[in-house]
Amino acid sequence: MTDLAYLSVADAGELLRTKQLSPVEYASALIARIERHDNKFNAFLRFAPEIALADARRAEAEIMGGAWRGPFHGVPYGLKDIVDYAGLPTTAHSKILQENVAVGDAVVTQKLRAAGAVFMGKMSTHEFAIGGPSFDLPWPPARNPWNRDHFCGGSSSGSGVATAAGFLPAAIGTDTGGSVRNPASMCGVVGMKPTYGVVSRRGVLPLAFSLDHVGALTRTVRDNALMLDLIAGHDALDPGSANRATGGYTAALSRGVEGVRIGVIRHFYTRDIRADAEMIAAIEAALKLLADLGAEIREIETAPLAAYAACNRTIMMSEAFAVHEKWMRECPQDYGTLARERLMGGAFIRAADYVNATRVRRKMAADFHAHFRDVDVVVTASSMDPACRIDDAKAVESTYPRQARAPFNVTGSPALSMPAGFSKAGLPLALQIAGAPFTEALVYRVAHAYEQATAWTQKHPALE
């Protein structure tokens, strides 16, 4: 039997369907691994082995009875702890919401439950998806499985750590300024922020309504596409939900990149911000490989990173403060230091500045999307640096501006971070692929072609 810890969703699903693997055996193996190792990495905020085993037994009975539900039937997953799971607290990793028991499932949870997936627990996050890594909260921050002295990215920290560490094959995260793609970059896994509105946000604690996206972290591109197939879809009760057909994200995976026009946004990582030399080299090597595979590479220019970042943060801070104002009045001492200061940034943004930021956003999105007349996808950096030490507060703080993820929250475009190699210190390097709205299938296709031509997603950390 293959190492169960690093089984892909696609392979696990097939073994489960054909009854070569028992859901109980699979869940038990991962439970044992989590119990053995997660005290070093803190991926789980609330580990739920009893629920997992009950889900696994149910899945086993159904599959043995001939009622296979699909590729996630009997497959373990985790939820970032801002996503509701009925009957469990949704804490947002915060003292303020320690007792906030969810009365129902989020839409993504409903879909995973209906697919017969096995719930393993709630994953660590940055407090309220913005304040971390913090050491002054009721739970410790997650740590990088490639080197536990290093930052694992955030805010979907535990989701990234758990997939990289072989605790889970897939986990749900959220992304408002890069929070799925940041841990994907730092932990060496695949993280997709789909187009705004493709995945329902209902039942997910908001950070900023107009920038929040739900997405998945997985170890392979195919698994990520499978997860998006499952969780995408219109939700009439989510006012941001896109009313259009979704799915079919794996259909074109193997078509390769022959003739695909790739626009490189090089100024993000060479001029606007100078990325780490190893990161630049990894991205340039990836572009050369994609060209060798038949893609047409051309450079494009868009707005400077600083303008995108200012637009993202102005909108994010304004909308987030609207959510947090009550707690800032009543219990400001209950926030961790990082979340409090970041959220306070929205207290005195003028109404006109917020509205004007959304007007700038519309223009930036239109200008960016106009490039897709000439290119099919774009490639750029995700993080500018490999993971820094988690105890170096200044370096951690610098990871927030030193990234090129926020532009795609501003534009709402699909954007995927994936492994692109390793630094000399053994830490993951990453690249980012983005597309026009609702072209997730093409983004996955390009990512899959690169993944198949490299072996980065086959390399795993030693946890001992």
Partner: protein
């Protein structure tokens, strides 16, 4: 628009006006830094390029009655 430099006393007064009366001195220092940061970000936004007809990114959209 130019604004006066913020001081701790000024930010305390602004906080009290919106009901944030439970902030410690350390919290007020955080609020001062955060507000200065937000103001600095505004300077990076190309507001001057907006024309009167430029709409916000999200406007109210009502469902069509079928």
């Amino acid at each position: 628009m130019t604004e006066d430099a913020l001081t701790l006393d000024k930010v305390r007064s602004m906080a009290e006006e919106i009901g944030m009366t439970r902030l410690t001195e350390a919290h007020l220092q955080q609020l001062l830094r955060a507000t200065n940061g937000a103001r600095a970000r505004r300077a990076l936004l190309p507001f001057a390029d907006l024309t009167p007809a430029d709409e916000p990114a999200h406007v109210l959209m009502l469902a069509r009655e079928d």
